[in-house]
């Protein structure tokens, strides 16, 4: 762990983190009472959780997981198979989905030896392999193959909504911890200057494996709760590349490496997507493609960096 004392580095106060988590919880507890479309709110929370989980990895270690959806799908299928074949109740099955994702994270751990674009592409390939495997007709008895799965026996939209809320808050709490702790500081030191961080005694290999597995767990839990809430789905619904894409765009737009960035990015852009993207999704695709280009060229640190440039400290 780094030798610098925490008080020497500007870190956001704990109070900010607590306020953020309370506000987020209240918003999503009250929203279904005001706004009727609960499933839309659930998907929004799913993307907040995914954007945050991706942010933990990309924002704090620099590894951009293009195949992040692999963990989401693994969690969804893990949860469903536990319910259908082992008759596990829904909530333990969601946790089981998270564990399945972590197991995949361990298996894919060697990918972390790669850097930059190599890692991203190889990770994308592993997610494609998972999709092609679960959708393979020869695995129909276990995964439903291309025909998908039905979970109607545990259908409980209210409980699934609350579970997703808890998962989203969990992701936020971890992000706050990363922003405030020595562990998070060590991660940043690693990204800034690997060699110096290593000299300062940070165990790089272990630290990034931990972050990778935490990030996998969040996606897996979110996948499990998502499968529970939609109840009937095809492989593409939980393994589609566009889920990774959305998580990446939302996190980048708000600003990675912060706690609030991915939350704001996911909520605003997902709302925008619903306003203009549902009937002709290509207009939204065109828009966010353009947004990515503009962000990379002019605001590589995300929308919130506009505030930071003006001296506002962003959590």
């Amino acid at each position: 762990m780094p030798s610098a004392r925490p008080d020497q580095i500007r870190q956001p106060p704990l109070r900010d983190g607590i306020i953020l988590i309370v506000v987020l919880a209240v918003i999503f507890l009250v929203a279904p009472k005001v706004y009727g479309n609960q499933s839309l709110l659930l998907v929004m929370m799913t993307f907040v959780a995914l954007a945050q989980g991706l942010n933990l990895l990309y924002g704090f270690t620099g590894y951009l997981p293009f195949g992040y959806v692999g963990f989401f799908g693994a969690g969804a299928y893990g949860m469903s198979i536990l319910v259908l074949h082992a008759h596990v109740p829904a909530i333990p099955a969601v946790i089981g989905g998270g564990i399945v994702a972590v197991i995949f994270g361990v298996i894919l751990g060697p990918l972390l030896r790669l850097s930059g674009a190599y890692f991203s592409i190889a990770n994308l390939a592993t997610a494609q392999i998972l999709l092609l495997a679960v959708a393979n007709p020869s695995l129909t008895p276990l995964t439903g193959g291309p025909y998908g799965l039905k979970l109607q026996q545990v259908f409980a939209p209210g409980a699934a909504y609350l579970t997703m809320l808890v998962i989203m808050l969990l992701a936020t709490v971890i992000a706050v911890y990363f922003r405030r702790s020595r562990f998070g500081l060590g991660l940043r030191a690693m990204t800034d200057d690997r060699v110096s961080a290593e000299m300062a005694g940070i165990n790089i290999v272990r630290a990034r494996l931990i972050v990778w597995l935490i990030s996998a767990a969040i996606a897996g839990l979110a996948g499990g709760a998502y499968a529970w809430s939609i109840s009937v789905y095809y492989p593409d619904a939980v393994f589609g590349t566009n889920i990774s894409v959305f998580a990446i765009v939302f996190a980048l737009a708000g600003g990675v490496g912060t706690v609030i960035g991915p939350i704001v990015g996911a909520i605003l852009l997902y709302a925008l997507y619903n306003a203009i993207g549902i009937t002709v999704p290509q207009y939204f695709e065109l828009l966010y493609g353009f947004l990515i280009v503009i962000l990379v060229l002019f605001l590589p640190e995300g929308g919130l960096s506009l505030l930071r440039r003006r001296g506002v400290d962003v959590l």
Binding site: A122, A125, Y283, F290, I292, L297
Partner: protein, 293 residues
Amino acid sequence: MALLEYAIIGGILYGIFFSLVGVGLNLIFGVLRMINLAHGQFIVLGGFGAWIVYQYLKLNPAFGIVLSIIGAIIIGYPLYWAVVPRLQKSADPEMLSFILFFGLAQMIDAAMILGFGVSQRSVPTETLGAGNIGLLGQTFPDSWWVAAAVAVLAILGLYLFLTRTRLGFATRAVTANRAEALASGIEVDRISLLSFVIGLALAGVAGVFIPFLLGSVSPSLGDGLTTTSFAIIIIGSLGRPIGTVVGGLVFGLGTMLMETYLPSWSDLVPYALLVIIVLVRPSGLLGRAVRQT
């Protein structure tokens, strides 16, 4: 035995063509140290070019090659100046270019769907020759041989350009070491621009044959082609355009053998190859490490 012969000869033809699919991505990576994640989309644009040439201009789809080259110049120049110099100055050009070109890929995908719709467009195979050419008792449609021949010519042309011309020497110098090339008076920006346009043109030319080799062309092919190209150039080692041929052949033979003996899993080939190669030998089969991790 006939089955195996079919798979091997087909795999070689298919593989030679896929070397062309990957080579543009490799050239751009080698010279600019940037990953054109919209590579597959440019290939698909080439495919639509061939379709337009056939459907509306009533010409032989091979004229799509000319259209692709013109398109690469028209798109490549402004695109290069709009994004590349700014990216080169950024903190992490490789990763940021990766994300930026990914955004561009999304835009091209969306624009293609808005322009052409999601349906698959095909071009009759007879347009590139109605017959079948046989080898060792195995026959393949003429279009496969034409695609392989164009791929050989294009890659040979690139090889001669890189090894026999002054601009080619300069391009290799930039690939080997950008800073030293700059210091020795090479116009690095001009070389980069040229390589970028050539890379896009090669993608477009490969695209012309996509309707023949894959049966049809549709906007949804882009991402898969990008991943496949990436797998191919990693097998053949990044930054070495000629090594791409090895990657193409490994991919072509692997795909054809799987399609012959284990068809339901053949889609996995490019992804599995990619993951295995990247983990076992990140520097590629021809193994010269181009980057330190």
